[in-house]
């Protein structure tokens, strides 16, 4: 054997080892993905199975669906007894979208100021914004109720939208600020050198780069508002109630009966739009990834 063939064999072994490693890495990824899927979906699976079960077999524990029926979904949307689940879904979407859009706009403004501008009392502002997330939400309801009663807001959409904006704003501002800090702002400078105004530079250069952060924040804001229950349970009325309150309104056919199957059906229904939303948004997140790679 010559030294050359030895070297080639060595390289071959190295390449094989590398291939093996790659293969193993990919296998490990799939195993991990499977574990994640199981952890996230197993309880949700139980929700869906229960949702399709006849109410008379609510406590059945067979793993596969048994006594399948669509009754629970029908019950959920049945309007004859004053249920307004369909209306509540629309309310939740309307409130969620409004909250998300407004809090993102406000959040981007604030985060830009906090990340890019120098001014006094920056720490005070940051502390103030963070401080808004420190008071137990349950104790805000009574004063808010008094305030909104005084100005006649009970049962209006703004009575639900404005508190929700305030609840998500601190998170929005902090996330956006932390991401803006990571931005390659020299590109903005470059754009300005090329004749863009500061606003144009921000819109055309920075915003696309910040897309992953913005869409992530949007999802966070939307879901947080979608999930809000405490404030809504006291400040909404039949016309404005969001879906969380509507679910709490589900009642069994008998006074003390807990309508698990109908609740699970409702849970299934409200989860679907969010999954769709995420599937749509995540293209944007991925798009952001490739844009970021230009850096």
């Amino acid at each position: 054997m010559t030294a050359a063939t030895e070297l080639r064999a060595e390289q071959d072994r190295g390449r094989k080892a590398a291939q093996n490693r790659e293969k193993w890495a990919s296998v490990r990824t799939y195993i991990s993905a499977a574990v994640i899927l199981f952890w996230c979906l197993a309880p949700a699976y139980w929700m869906v199975v229960t949702a399709f079960r006849d109410v008379g077999y609510t406590y059945d524990t067979s793993l596969l669906p048994t006594h399948i029926t669509l009754d629970n979904f029908r019950t959920a949307f049945d309007t004859s007894f004053g249920n307004r689940f369909g209306q509540a879904l629309l309310n939740s979407v309307f409130i969620g979208v409004t909250v998300t859009v407004i809090s993102l706009v406000l959040g981007v403004f604030a985060a830009y100021a906090l990340a890019r501008l120098n001014f006094r009392f920056k720490y005070l502002v940051l502390g103030f914004i963070l401080g808004a997330s420190m008071f137990p939400g349950v104790a805000l309801i009574t004063p808010l109720f008094q305030l909104f009663t005084n100005i006649g807001w009970i049962g209006t959409y703004q009575a639900l939208i404005i508190p929700n904006i305030s609840f998500v704003l601190p998170l929005t501002v902090y996330t956006m600020t932390s991401f803006f800090r990571e931005m390659p702002w020299e590109l903005e400078e470059a754009a300005r050198v090329d004749g863009c105004t500061q606003g144009q530079a921000f819109r055309r250069v920075i915003m696309p780069l910040a897309a992953p952060a913005i869409f992530t924040t949007a999802i966070l804001a939307f879901i947080s508002s979608w999930n809000e229950f405490l404030i809504a349970s006291q400040l909404s009325n039949d016309a404005t109630q969001p879906v969380t309150v509507a679910i709490a309104n589900f009642a069994g056919a008998q006074p003390q009966q807990i309508p698990y199957t109908a609740i699970m059906a409702a849970g299934t229904i409200v989860t679907i739009p969010l999954v769709i939303l995420v599937l749509v948004f995540q293209r944007k997140i991925v798009a952001g990834l490739t844009a970021g790679a230009v850096k």
């Binding site: 006849d54 109410v55 008379g56 077999y57 609510t58 406590y59 059945d60 006594h67 004859s80 007894f81 004053g82 001014f119 006094r120 009392f121 502002v125 103030f128 309801i141 009574t142 004063p143 109720f145 008094q146 305030l147 009663t149 005084n150 349970s233 006291q234 009325n237 039949d238 309150v245 709490a248 309104n249 589900f250 009642a251 069994g252 056919a253 008998q254 006074p255 003390q256 009966q257 807990i258």
Partner: protein, 427 residues
């Protein structure tokens, strides 16, 4: 130094907040409703009726009927959530805000005293008096505070002892008799008896039932705790002993109504204390294993029927209502025989009028009515006190520890006593 301009918004917000808090009023129990109770007594006009989720579509048809007959005094239905805590909090918020739009409200029997003492409920006396002579006495007591009626008893509820007819030869009359039958449960490898012992409102119900059934009481006639008595001890001991020796199965410590019903319907319990709603479900649900062997009797006590804890709702009138004459008419309408019958047939809600329990037509439809009548006639209202939220917590906390064996019965009762005394002492 120049004024830091961006601080302006904070300052504005601060000033705004201070102004608002000055005129916003407190959230605490603002009281002395003397003036409010005098206004609007002759007022007539549209009113709102507030109640939790209308499970079986009883309220809507009733209101339609009322509205057809009273075109100028229409009732609007405001439906709350299905959860008692939230109904309570919603009422409190609106009373605190002196909301005139909550004219007639449905109050759980345990809230009556609290709302009355806060001055939120119109006393039903003098001009506003309501005839209660045909009603079951315990239901009237639970709607009264300090001898004055504050709400119209609307529907009632009492505990029923369900049992397995196929295994139990004759229904037990006393607690000891029932415990004697636990050998049957053992032979069949099922649990003997269970009520609701998770730490929640149901535990208060079951604990006070045990204490009342043994001749004790949680509160005396003055509303002071009376748990340092041999009767109270004997009562609580029935539960702790039964749990310790396994007559009450271990898992019962996690039972609320639905988990208990599930166990009984699956054939895993010989005796089960629950509300009347179980009857319909155990008879009809596809998964029920006790459809054909379902027995019912009154709860058991020391030497006869036990004293059930009373459930149910009353209809109260807000002192802030502008149309109290209409509201009073509506209360009378809700307690009329016809309405009560409709409640029973349409909603399986136990009537407050004694006569209806012997109504043949009703009994045919709701076979548990005779048993329920015994239950309600022997029932003791849950502690009638304006400090109910504190009292129920004191009972739950200590009874739970006692049943689990973490605390002696004596210690549990004396802690209950001390906690209730402290709560009633105010601050």
């Amino acid at each position: 130094m120049k004024t830091p301009k961006f601080l302006l918004p904070i300052a504005t917000a601060g000033v705004l907040a201070l102004t608002l808090s000055a005129c916003g009023g407190g959230g605490g129990g603002s009281t002395t409703a003397g003036g409010d109770a005098e206004q609007g007594l002759d007022g007539r006009g549209p009113i709102t009726y507030v109640q939790g989720k209308d499970n079986s579509n009883v309220v809507r048809p009733l209101i339609e009927k009322w509205n057809a007959a009273h075109p100028d005094e229409k009732v609007t239905f405001k439906e709350q959530t299905d959860q008692a805590d939230q109904q309570h909090d919603d009422l409190v918020q609106n009373f605190q805000a002196k909301n005139a739009n909550y004219d007639v409200v449905s109050v759980d029997v345990v809230w009556t005293a609290e709302f009355a003492a806060k001055g939120w409920l119109q006393p039903l006396k003098d001009k506003m008096a309501l005839d209660t002579s045909a009603m079951l006495k315990p239901t009237v007591e639970s709607a009264s505070y300090k001898g004055t009626l504050y709400a119209a008893p609307q529907n009632s509820d009492g505990g029923i002892l369900y049992y397995r007819k196929d295994l139990v030869p004759t229904a037990p009359k006393t607690w000891d008799e029932m415990m004697g039958m636990c050998s049957i449960a053992k032979e069949n490898n099922i649990g003997c008896f269970a009520g609701q012992y998770a730490k929640y409102e149901g535990l208060t119900v079951n604990t006070s039932e045990a204490i009342n059934s043994a001749g004790g009481s949680v509160l005396d006639a003055e509303g002071k705790p009376s748990l340092n008595t041999p009767e109270a001890k004997a009562g609580l001991e029935t539960l702790t002993k039964a749990y310790a020796d396994g007559s009450i199965p271990k898992e019962a410590i996690t039972f609320q109504e639905e988990q208990g019903r599930q166990a009984f319907q699956n054939g895993k319990l010989l005796f089960h204390r629950n509300w009347p709603y179980v009857y319909n479900l155990a008879k009809t649900e596809g998964s029920s294993k006790v459809k054909d062997v379902l027995g019912m009797t009154a709860l058991t006590g020391t030497d006869g029927p036990g004293a059930s804890t009373l459930g149910g709702h009353s209809a109260g009138m807000s002192v802030y209502s502008k149309n109290k004459a209409t509201a009073l008419d509506f209360l009378k309408f809700l307690t009329s025989e016809e309405t009560q019958k409709f409640y029973a047939t349409q909603g399986s809600l136990a009537p407050v009028l004694g006569a209806l329990y012997d109504d043949k037509e009703l009994v045919a439809k709701l076979p548990y009515l005779p048993v329920l009548k015994t239950s309600i006639e022997n029932a003791v209202p849950r502690p009638v006190t304006p400090f109910y939220p504190a009292v129920t917590k004191a009972i739950q906390e200590n009874a739970y520890a006692a049943i689990k064996g973490e605390k002696t019965v004596d210690a549990a009762l004396s802690d209950m006593q001390a906690s209730i005394e402290s709560a009633s002492a105010g601050q």
